[in-house]
């Protein structure tokens, strides 16, 4: 039995420590917001937060996250300024990469609320979006900064 703390809830489940966090979230817990995209930590679609830091769950063993707080896209409230900004600017197209993008942006603004355009681009460039929503993602993060009152 392993114990995982996800989105403020404790889950007890029978999986090997060697199992991949992404698949445990998706298959065992039904938390399908984090997506499989590459399995190598390149595309960012599987991003979740581990004690506030964004990690690639597709290359993370479940044994390495025990006792730590995990936040997934499902754990970020619908009315959070980041999600509101995303909806207001019609950011998602196919939407598949968006949970990873939003989790990354959430972590960025939690640590660096006043992140500059350059800092935003530098962090978010680690995520792939085939629909090309990049320009809107930048605008949405800056919009969220205004909604959060951290930038004019």
């Amino acid at each position: 039995m392993l114990e995982l703390n996800i989105n403020g809830r404790t889950y007890r489940l029978k999986v090997h420590k060697e199992n991949t966090l992404l698949w445990v979230l998706r298959e065992n817990l039904g938390l399908t917001g984090a997506k499989y995209g590459c399995g190598k930590g390149i595309c960012g679609a599987c991003t979740v937060l581990l004690d506030g830091d964004p990690i690639r769950s597709c290359i993370t063993k479940v044994g390495s996250v025990l006792g730590k707080r995990i936040i997934t896209i499902e754990g970020i409230p619908s009315d959070h300024p980041i999600k509101r900004a995303w909806v207001e600017l019609n950011v998602p197209q196919c939407g598949y990469c968006q949970p990873g993008q939003i989790v990354e942006a959430y972590a960025l603004l939690s640590k660096n609320p006043k992140a500059s355009r350059q800092e935003i681009v530098s962090v978010m460039s680690s995520h792939l979006c085939r629909c090309g929503t990049y320009t809107r993602i930048i605008r949405a993060i800056e919009r969220a900064q205004r909604l959060m009152g951290v930038k004019a």
Partner: protein
Amino acid sequence: MISRRELLALSGMSLGIFLTPEGFSVGKIFEKNNLKPTLWASITRDNYLILLVNKSEMGQGVYTGLAMLVAEELDFPWDRVRVRSAPAGDAYKDPKMGTQLTGGSTSIRHMHEFLRVLGASMKEMLIQSAMDEFRLRREQVKAQGGYIRFDGRAVPYGELWEKAVRLPLPTKPKLKEPSEFIYLGKNLPRIDAQEKVDGKAIFGMDVRMDGMVYAMVERAPFGSKPLSFDASQAKKVDGILDVFPISTGIALCGASVDALLEARRKLRVSWSKSSIEGLDDSSLEKLFFEALQKEGRVVERRGNTSQEWQRATKKLSTTYLLPYLYHATLEPMCCVADVKKNSCKVFAPIQAQTQALNAVKDITGLAEDRIEIITTYLGGGFGRKAHVGFVAEAVEISKKIGKPVKLIYTREDDVLSGYYRPMSVALVRGTLDEKGRVSSLYFKVAVSSGIDWASAQGLEDMPYQVPSLYVETLSLSPPIPVWFWRSVGHSHNAFILETFLDRLAKLGNRDPLDLRLELLKNNPRARRVLEITAEKIGWGKKQNVGLAYHFSFGSHVAQGVEVIFEKGEVKVVKVVCTVDIGPTVIHPDLVVSQMESGIIMGLSAFLVEKVRFSDGKPTTLNFDSYPILTMDKVPDIEVHVVRGKGPMGGVGEPGVPPIAPAVANALLWGYELEINRLPMSLYK
């Protein structure tokens, strides 16, 4: 009678992911002009409009655009509209294509009349129903905002719907005048945005069924097949249920993805010698250029290009080479299938429902009404998911093991499965007359075979009025499967045509914009998008700018770019795009986002994309070896939507073709770089 399949679809129970409001009712079906309101829509008692959309939502915003058409005519509040995917079935075939398919940038073009008539008919039936019920005359009743209003009362549509659908279908429902529109032309919130940002939208990859197991397939390399396999070690992996051959390779079933990945490492398969053994990038190149010597199919011939070539003093000849491209949908191919003795259920992110239905019928031998195929959200499509081989595989596997199965392609499986945009090479010749006008263009194009009819797209139908034009295409058949890739032939041919025009302009010491405008004398829409774009990008004021124009899928698109080329790196600073899809623009912001999307995908292809081969196999296997564009490489993009006179054009694809030649042209004028083969990264 309404079938079980339709009932299920309408009630939305199949996925259970959408809000299912109370008091659902399904009335009788009206059989007239293929307009059967209850097959397409229902209004619940608590006043939600439920629409079944027969087109796949893959990011292009089709759920939003199509729902707006119905909501507009019905006069229904947008926040109470719910969309579900229509199941695969005859009723949901595209009325103009005769098949259920999302492709060719046609969804709005093919469905808008039908859906507006649907909405208008529903409204008239509701009005009639209110008149009957409350004994009113027509002029006393108004339908507005989801309510029938009369005498200071407001009755929700939902309370009247059950009776309304029993009324005869209006013969000529009155459509709104543009001045009466409340939604069309406005930037409404995307109907799928909230669930997508919440991680709750259900993609093919996210579907779960009770008792479901996971499956993967070890597929044969191109031009090869399995001779034998040894699964003894693979079967020992904890959680592995079975390993068996299917038509495309060796299937593995197991309780988890982790188990499958481990088992695959232990599976031993011996494959037959590949018919392309040893083939690599340079031998492919040689093969294609040699093919240009052969005789092809002449698809356009006017004037006399060979005579012009003999006669002209200013002339140019060059060749182009454009690579195989991978779609790289962020969601790899995947499918959930549950084959039972007397029925089959499929959930899949597909663009081609009719083809999927036919494939399932073939494999299961079941009658159509025993097969339910539900289209999930697509995590990207770009044409790839119109090939439904992955559905067939999942159905074959489920049938064999008698359980619901989720078939997953790893990223590597996805790349190796092929169905790339065809590779192509071209020989191009052109001449200028004594006044420096383009007098002839000659194209001979050789493409990787599979979708040959697309090989002359954008050349045979070019809007440029060139006195002499010759287009010949031929195909060659290495066993590398090819398929539609967002704008397909246009993505090749716009590059060839538009860069060649600039080289001719350079040869003749002409302004490439003037040279184009001269060839578009009778085409005010084309001229306008070019002129606006040129002005906005600073044409004539800077050296490092380039322009391109292309007409595809009924839409005129011009793009202008500003580039910087430094230390072998191309930096695209700015893109201006002007698009004319005709007088009716349903949702301007969705048009803008499709242009942004097409520009970024086209720029990605221009800069870095190529499926590479070595020893008969692709060596590009994941995003490390097949990179796609990241945010730091993306320019500012400014899109102008103009409304020209003419038929409605599409938006999903036309944004792609002009960007690559526009960048190449900027490099030509700004930096004397001639780009004859893509991607640009090869020039380093």
